[in-house]
């Protein structure tokens, strides 16, 4: 399968009164056609900003994409004009956001909002877009779609709104879907339903997906490969098997150890990662994870490890990656 998305050395900063926040710092990754990539990391590590940078929707000011390339289907999204980018958004790349309650416009009918991309990108007439919207709602499992189109978002539950968001994001059959914590705000049973719908529809369309989440269980179930992000940088990336079975970064180990699993031995407790994420305006000279790391050595303080290929297509950014062991952290107090 050929490469659909190639993000190279992407950096996005926010200029605030407290200083420059390096929300995304020299991030590179690739996504193949039809691949599902999980992007994980703690809150504030730059996942959303990475996604928004790909879409060129970083709020500016204060945000600014300072460098990098986003090669998507042989064009560099960071180099094309805003008008050209508008043709990419919604048509080639769809996006679903975290907050279903606030992501739909409260004063426009659901039909109006669903029809917009269809009329804009596919040149449909009102009649065509209406019947297509109806089909789309049916596809995401909304009963009585024709009536639903005439209603407004406040008359709809959170789970239903997220289904509508999915219908909207996939309405033009994009090549790439970015789901930024699309289910975090929903309760667990609905989360699973929504994820199943996303999986079913994107499988059918052959859409590549970037799933952004805190939930490593979700990644394990739906993703082919994983990017682990910490303090604005990718710290580990590889296939699901590689990252989950042989993590090469202590942070990944920490994340895995803080996930409740069913087959957990009774005497191995959940282990939250100690400490806090560093201040993104004032990162240390060496490794950004050093204060929270059990493997830290002198070298980690002096220079920052770059992402390197530790085994075939498995990348890690840790000087001590050979010592990193999945179980180690779990048993240290």
């Amino acid at each position: 399968m050929s490469t659909l998305l190639d993000v190279k050395n992407l950096s996005t900063h926010f200029n605030t009164s407290a200083g420059t926040i390096k929300a995304v710092n020299d991030v590179s990754f690739k996504l193949r056609e039809g691949e599902t990539l999980g992007l994980v990391g703690e809150s504030g590590c730059g996942k959303s900003v990475t996604a928004l940078s790909i879409m060129r929707l970083v709020p500016s000011p204060p945000g600014r994409i300072v460098s990098g390339d986003v090669i998507f289907q042989d064009q560099n999204l960071l180099k094309i004009s805003e008008e050209e980018m508008q043709n990419v958004r919604g048509r080639d790349i769809g996006m679903i956001f975290q907050e279903p309650m606030t992501s739909l416009n409260p004063v426009l009918s659901i039909g109006r909002q669903l029809r917009e991309p269809l009329e804009l990108h596919l040149g449909m007439t009102k009649q065509q877009s209406l019947s297509r919207s109806s089909e789309l709602l049916e596809l995401v499992g909304i009963p009585d779609p024709a009536t639903r189109l005439k209603t407004f978002p406040h008359q709809t539950s959170g789970g239903q709104r997220q289904r509508i968001m999915i219908a909207m994001a996939l309405s033009c059959e994009p090549k790439l879907l970015i789901a930024d914590e699309a289910t975090t705000a929903l309760d667990v049973t609905i989360q699973a339903q929504i994820l199943e719908i996303i999986k079913e529809l994107t499988d059918r369309l052959g859409t590549s997906v970037i799933i952004i989440t805190h939930n490593l269980g979700v990644v394990a179930r739906y993703a082919d490969s994983v990017n682990v992000m910490y303090a604005g940088k990718l710290r580990e990336s590889g296939s699901l098997d590689q990252v989950y079975k042989q993590p090469k970064h202590p942070y990944t180990v920490g994340l895995l150890n803080s996930v409740p699993t069913l087959d957990l031995d009774a005497d191995i407790r959940l282990q939250p990662i100690r400490g806090e994420i560093p201040n993104l305006t004032d990162l240390p000279k060496g490794c950004a994870f050093i204060d929270r790391c059990d493997y830290a050595e002198q070298k980690c303080q002096e220079s920052e490890p770059e992402l390197e290929e530790v085994e075939d297509a498995h990348f890690g950014a840790c000087w001590e990656h050979q010592r990193v062991n999945k179980n180690l952290l779990g048993i240290t107090p």
Binding site: M55, L57, F97, E99, T102, P106, V107, L120, H154
Partner: protein, 313 residues
């Protein structure tokens, strides 16, 4: 929806009754006696008495009120105690300039204020934004009569582009009409649009931070539909409110404007008749203006329903 509208329209009735009582009381409590003023400085007490009887002012106040209320309800608004002409006649004579000024002035204010406010919000922090904000601040703080005189001096007296005073009816000479209302309309539009700019900018700025604006952009919408379909509609309520308030304020604005530009409209009619204690005219005029005010408020309420689907619940 229809029930809501019906309820709002019904609610107008008690308001108008209250306005009627207030109007009548105000005119009768106000110092200065119409009979005295009419009789002039050299009249004796008997003359004044005669005039009072003629005007019905010797009857008890409550009787006067019921008589007035009854006549008003039948559509008889009384006569001017000076010219003897009916109020309906006076008002219809003076109506055209006022309507022309308020409608054209209000429309220009809205057509100028909303796009400028949206643009300022979109370009928040830029030089354009700052320029528009300075314009709005000046437009709000500069007194209308002063700016009016400056306009007259600059454009009418010095440059001679426009007439200094007066009003040309649209039925007589369209070009002359345009010339005669340009300066007063500019005056009304500057202060009006300034208020609208401020409210629009603030409202849109807030809306632009909302998640659904990001959703709209993620769909690939261009700036224009994002701003005018998504943001403006979502931020419409405070803007409509301020336009409603403005429509009310236009009434006072028109009095000043008509006085400055010597335009024979309703505003001047009010000013003249209040000075003369021409109470039948004053009463009817106040009633008319208050009804206009109530009508505007009703329109604003109904606009809420139209623009915000959540109000219906």
């Amino acid at each position: 929806m229809t029930a809501y509208i019906f309820k709002r329209v019904l609610a107008v009735i008690p308001i108008l009754i209250f306005v009627g009582i207030a109007t009548f009381s105000l005119v009768h409590i106000a110092p200065g006696d119409a009979a005295n003023i009419m009789a002039g400085d050299y009249a004796g007490p008997d003359d004044v008495k005669l005039i009072r009887a003629e005007l019905g002012l010797d009857k008890p106040v409550t009787t006067q009120f019921w008589e007035w209320a009854g006549r008003t309800l039948r559509g008889d608004f009384g006569k001017s105690i000076y010219s003897g002409r009916t109020v309906a006649e006076l008002v219809s004579q003076r109506l055209e300039p006022t309507i022309a000024l308020t409608i054209v002035g209000g429309t220009v204010a809205v057509l100028l204020g909303i796009p400028m406010g949206v643009f300022a919000a979109w370009k928040a922090g830029s030089r354009w934004d700052r320029g528009i904000q300075i314009f709005a601040a000046l437009g709000i703080s500069i007194p209308g009569f002063w700016l009016g005189f400056i306009f007259i001096l600059a454009f009418a007296v010095y440059l001679r582009w426009f007439p200094v005073i007066g009003y040309v009816s649209i039925t007589e000479d369209v070009f002359g009409w345009i010339k005669s209302i340009t300066l007063p309309v500019a005056l009304l539009a500057i202060s009006g649009s300034s208020v609208i700019i401020r409210m629009t900018r603030g409202s849109i700025l807030e809306v632009l931070r909302e998640d659904y604006i990001r959703t709209a952009r993620a769909k690939g919408l261009a700036n224009k539909p994002v701003l005018f379909r998504h943001a403006l509609r979502a931020g419409a309520i405070p803007i409509i409110t301020v336009i409603g308030t403005l429509a009310g304020a236009l009434i006072t604005g028109v009095v000043v404007t008509e006085t400055v530009f010597t335009i024979p409209g309703l505003g001047r009619l009010v000013a003249e008749t209040v000075q003369n204690r021409d109470f039948p005219v004053v009463q009817s005029m106040l009633m008319l203006l208050a009804s206009f005010y109530v009508f505007i408020n009703l329109m604003v309420d109904l606009a809420y329903v139209f623009f915000d689907p959540r109000v219906r619940l």
